[in-house]
Symmetry: C2
Subunit: 311 residues, 2 copies
């Protein structure tokens, strides 16, 4: 990388010694070098966020830095992998030092709270676009795969959904009440890393809710070649989302809104007593393909199945 | 990732079984999973290319796909690492199937020729921006570091420089002759992967020439805390670049132009007989800090030290 780019990454993101002993060489050479532990697999994921698609132009840069890392750590959490390192590719329209300071603070605070090292980066001029690649370790054969659900498994959710979707409606001026919990869910999502680790050896299939509960559960069903019934009345909802549904009648929102980053996973009935108490049972895997949503005992027809770009 | 994104990556980039036995799980889950070989380190690099900064709007998409991967493999080559997997983050203004077909062909042909697997991806709408993260393995303690140069080491170059710089001048209509070798160097650079592997245990410091010979050699000098003398007359130049210099008098171009992706490395004098014949000696590491360029026996003053964004 050229000197100006190098200095930007070093100035804002690389002021610390590596937190992980696996990081043999961090930022500053052609590549970073990672020592590889025995009996582990490396989990890799990448996610991009683009202005106008994933965030609004007036977003708080600290929240953006937080969320960019959070969505990538969430993918590792959904595999049961422990994050240890990330690379960051920034495309910026200009060098705005106060923006960079806030952005890097949001990013690095979350990184440090999960003991994640930034090991590489690239900065270019261009319209605002942010890409992270995140690396984690998981003991061999213990990763939680989308393809592992079996008929009879119970379907669980790690916490309420719909809050981030409500937050987006507030930011888009489609809902008049400034519900702070919903805005926090949208702008400061918490990746469920500790839960992902706790689910190793207990859960079967697992996914994080980024595109919406129906769409993401749909990925599990497709990859596992199974179906499911989902009990709408069992889905955990915040008081704010319940108020929204009462005010608008839009009970489908928590099913189709994305960005909540809760984990949705399947577990054999004889393992459910091992789950943390906050996990909530919302349905069951069935051999019959397709996803059947029940509300007040009635099967429902759902419009739309989650967020898609280029739709 | 959402279904539309998933299908784009799957349709254009993921039609093959993994070429590497280390790839335990490829595209299609929250993360890819990699089996880790013993006694190896993982090398990681990331590079972004943005329209208008790294390539012109009318670039051939197949050449762009090739180059995006090539610049990342070149970073692995400069560490002496063997590439095995990449992730790809694409931001596209629209879905243009003929563009995607050509782009993916250029990308995947180079990937297959180096036995590299695409293990993850993200596609979003946005202005055209392309990020690759590349992964390679290198035997522990054998990586070629920028910091390893020692006074007395000879400085070598793997091949001619300045061709890509000349190609850029042609594309920008700053030079009237359509030198096809120069355009090929600019648009279809060949990462020096095999040479990087061959240099393990022979070379000391190594870097790839992406920002220009002076800038990149400067990175070695800075990280190794040494200086160097560089003999301009020894630098390998193509007939096309020699013609350019004769026509324009611009003898500094091969020193400051980027994008050649040759390797520049230092080697102890008693190891130089082990180098492939095409490598050319261009100078020597010295204890005195700073870079001294000699041309026809006279020390020279150089304007500019390579490409910097935001300059």
């Amino acid at each position: 990388m050229a000197k100006a780019e190098f200095d930007l990454i070093r100035r804002y993101f690389a002021c610390h010694q590596p937190l992980n002993s696996e990081v043999a060489l961090g930022i500053g050479d052609d590549c970073a070098l990672i020592n590889l532990p025995a009996n582990q697999q490396l989990a890799i994921t990448t996610d991009t966020m683009v202005e106008g698609v994933h965030f609004l132009p007036d977003v708080d840069p600290a929240a953006l830095g937080h969320k960019l890392l959070a969505v990538n750590l969430s993918d590792l959490a959904a595999m049961g992998a422990k994050p240890f390192a990330v690379t960051l590719a920034l495309s910026l329209p200009k060098i705005d030092h106060s923006w960079l300071e806030a952005f890097s603070l949001g990013f690095m605070q979350l990184a440090q709270s999960h003991a994640v090292d930034l090991v590489g980066g690239d900065t270019t001029s261009g319209s605002l676009s942010l890409t992270v690649q995140a690396l984690g370790f998981v003991p061999s054969s213990q990763a939680l795969l989308r393809s592992a659900a079996q008929p009879g498994d119970l379907i669980y959710l790690s916490g309420p959904v719909g809050d981030a979707g409500l937050g987006l409606k507030i930011r888009l001026n489609q809902y008049p009440f400034q519900e702070s919990r919903a805005l926090l869910a949208l702008e400061r999502p918490q990746p469920q890393v500790a839960l992902g680790l706790a689910l190793r050896g207990i859960a079967r299939a697992c996914i994080d809710i980024s595109d919406g509960l129906l769409a993401d559960l749909g990925h599990i069903l497709e990859r596992s070649e199974v179906g499911a019934r989902l009990d709408w009345d069992a889905i955990p909802l915040s008081a704010e989302v319940i108020r929204y549904i009462e005010a608008t009648g839009d009970w489908q929102m928590p099913l189709v809104a994305g960005d909540d980053y809760q984990l949705c996973f399947s577990v054999s009935p004889d393992q459910q007593h091992l789950l943390p108490e906050r996990c909530v049972k919302i349905g069951q895997i069935e051999a019959d393909r397709g996803l059947r949503v029940f509300k007040s005992g009635q099967i429902q027809t759902i419009q739309g199945t989650g967020y898609e770009h280029f739709a």
